[in-house]
Amino acid sequence: MVTKELAVQNELGIHARVASRIVREARRFQCSVTARKGKEVFDFKNVTGVITVNAKKGTVLTLEFDGVDEQEASEAMVALFTNKFGER
């Protein structure tokens, strides 16, 4: 399993368009992609999972990748977060 601590950096936080991008990205991989915020766990392959995190700018999420392509998936997700989901 690979674990990454990622901060939401774009101004508007995870809103609907961003949520769709995250899900589309996560689904490219076979491994599971989940996020931890406090004690709660959210499935990032589901759009309901991503939006119910209710993450705003500055929220730090612990992302967990588990499966054959966990390394690639984690790198892709790190890139997406650092790139502020193509936003600002």
Partner: protein, 572 residues
């Protein structure tokens, strides 16, 4: 039948009723879970197909906003949690699909509604409800697509959603008649920008206009009728013939420069109230937005002003869609005839002379700052400009500029990007500002002349009062001399001057604006090509002579005669 004209034009075509299916959600046990599950999955597949088709359409139209909403709905249909919940209710619970879908949708809707700190996600509750309706519609066996008739038609409905209007591709759709509808509704705005005639508030339309019979829609007389008389039909044929020739002629004026025969250049901008109009604006050849009326954003909310993020999203999308073309955003112009209940402005004897626009904003600094922060941040994505409405004194202008400066400092301290050189302008619409234009010009980057208010204030004639309406004429020589002075003062100070009031699109007056050397005319979207044609076919030198002539006149009638003789009067 009578209604209110929401988008001008005439149409004669069959009435095509669009009814929302009545969907009843009863809770009952299904007979066979496997069969019921299959039934649900068929409905889901149908729903997915329909969404994918709509998404493909929005991509063609480059409409990111509606596309984003639909993609979210599509992802919901692939969501193992949402769909899982429904399927469990069907298989384990043994319930019918309708009940299962409704239950699962409602639990998400309720969750999203509770996210009061996150307006973006809260709005998605509406999308879940929309999706719920689609799914229930598919389960009820409603045809998955709006079946457009094969011949031209006029859509008749209680109300239409923007996505329903999108599905009507526009070639066969000749007109829209709504029993409800509102002037500010997105459907109406889309109709207006596409030039589709639309009549709203037509009571009992669905009951009376049925049966594929031809009906005549005439927004100029604000009527729609099932049995038009010969005179009405003759009027329609005349309108139609004119429109066909005109559309062909206007084609070349939907792109390219706005330049007179002797090489004087102007710009044609358009006035908008929402991000969605940008697409049509560009199709019609608009060179930018000369006036973004932000009131609608405030009117759409029911309890409190739109949050910074919501405003930023709208301004930003508009700025991006314009790809570098100017976007002049006017700060909140509440009051007068524009009421926003939750702002708590008391009933006034003379609302046009009352507590409105910048007067209100300067006393509600937080509301004002929120809007300025959103505009400033959007400026990182395009060529945004700020414009203050209803400025009457230099003090007001300085206070507004000071608050803008503080807002910039705040953003800078928080390392938030914005355009440091954002241009700041003001509306010239009070006689005080018009008189002192030369002074005001020292402190702003541009003027935009709001001729509607300027006229009513200049002649002290309420523009909503029919009895004094003859005073509210853009052909009044006093008004023309006043505008001319404002333009000269602006140019003497080296700043840009635009006209964003209705007078800017009155074709007979365009030669005068050209003669004055106005830098840009900001008009309504359907008028862009017409106004550009008027400029392109004119000669600056002749316009200047005409202007000199008119500026000597003393009577409104004389001006009217001089400008209207020679040019054929157009029906608008």
């Amino acid at each position: 039948m009578k209604g209110k004209a929401a988008s001008n034009g005439m149409a004669y075509a069959i009435a095509y009723p669009i009814r929302e299916p009545e969907i009843q959600i009863e809770q009952r046990k299904n007979e066979c879970p496997q069969k019921e599950l299959q039934r649900f999955q068929d409905a889901k597949a149908q729903c997915i197909r329909r969404l994918e088709e709509l998404i493909a359409q929005t991509e063609k139209r480059n409409d990111r906003e509606i596309g984003g909403i639909l993609d979210f709905q599509l992802l919901m249909l692939e969501d193992t949690d949402y769909i899982g919940k429904i399927e469990t209710l069907i298989t384990d619970g043994g319930w019918n699909s309708e009940y299962a879908v409704n239950e699962a949708s409602q639990s998400y809707q309720q969750y999203l509604c509770k996210l009061t700190d996150n307006p973006y996600l809260r709005e998605r509750a509406g999308d879940v409800s929309d999706l719920n309706r689609h799914l229930l519609g598919c389960l009820a066996g409603v045809k998955d697509k709006l079946q457009e008739p094969d011949e031209p038609y006029i859509a008749v409905a209680v109300d239409l959603s923007p996505s329903q209007v999108m599905e009507m591709k526009g070639q066969k759709l000749q007109g829209i008649v709504l029993e409800q509808g509102a002037m500010t509704a997105h459907t109406v705005i889309i109709a207006r920008s596409r030039g589709i005639p639309c009549l709203i508030g037509v009571e009992g339309a669905l009951k009376q206009l049925v049966g594929y019979k031809p009906i005549l829609l005439d927004t100029f007389s604000e009527t729609v009728t099932g049995d038009p008389d010969e005179a009405a039909l003759a009027r329609y044929r005349h309108y139609r013939a004119q429109k066909v020739t005109e559309d062909a002629e206007l084609k070349t004026y939907r792109s390219g420069k706005t330049q007179t025969l002797d090489g004087f250049q102007m710009k044609i901008y358009a006035n908008i109230t929402s991000a969605q109009e940008t697409e049509v604006l560009l199709q019609q050849g608009g060179e930018g937005v000369g006036l973004f009326r932000t009131e609608l954003l405030y009117m759409k909310e029911s309890n409190a002003p739109p949050e910074e993020e919501v405003q930023l999203d709208v301004y930003r999308r508009t700025a991006e869609a314009l790809r570098g073309r100017p976007l002049i955003i006017r700060t909140l112009d509440v009051g007068g005839d524009k009421k926003i209940p939750y702002l708590g402005i008391e009933q006034e004897e003379n609302p046009f002379l009352g507590y409105r626009a910048i007067r209100y904003c300067l006393e509600h600094k937080e509301l004002f700052r929120t809007q300025l922060r959103a505009i400033l941040q959007a400026s990182a994505y395009g060529t945004c400009q700020v414009m203050f409405p209803m400025i009457a004194t230099l003090d007001e202008l300085q206070s507004a500029k000071r608050i803008l400066k503080e807002t910039k400092e705040d953003l800078r301290a928080r390392k938030i990007l914005f355009d440091e050189n954002i241009r700041v302008g003001m509306m010239v619409e009070t006689p005080a500002a018009a008189l002192e234009a030369a002074r005001f010009a020292q402190y702003v980057d541009f003027f935009s002349i709001g001729t509607n208010d300027l006229t009513q204030y200049l002649f002290a004639a309420d523009r909503t009062n029919d009895k004094v309406n003859q005073l509210n004429s853009y052909f009044q020589p006093t008004l023309l001399r006043c505008v001319n002075r404002i333009v000269r003062s602006a140019h003497a100070a080296g700043i840009e001057v635009d006209i964003c009031g209705q007078a800017g699109e009155v074709l007979e007056l365009v030669p005068l604006w050209t003669g004055m050397g106005v830098d840009a005319l900001s008009v309504s979207i359907p008028m862009i090509a017409k106004v550009r044609r008027a400029v392109c076919q004119s000669n600056r030198e002749e316009c200047t002579k005409l202007l000199e002539d008119v500026l000597q006149m003393e009577s409104e009638q004389d001006v009217r005669k001089r400008l209207i003789s020679g040019s054929c009067k157009e029906r608008r």
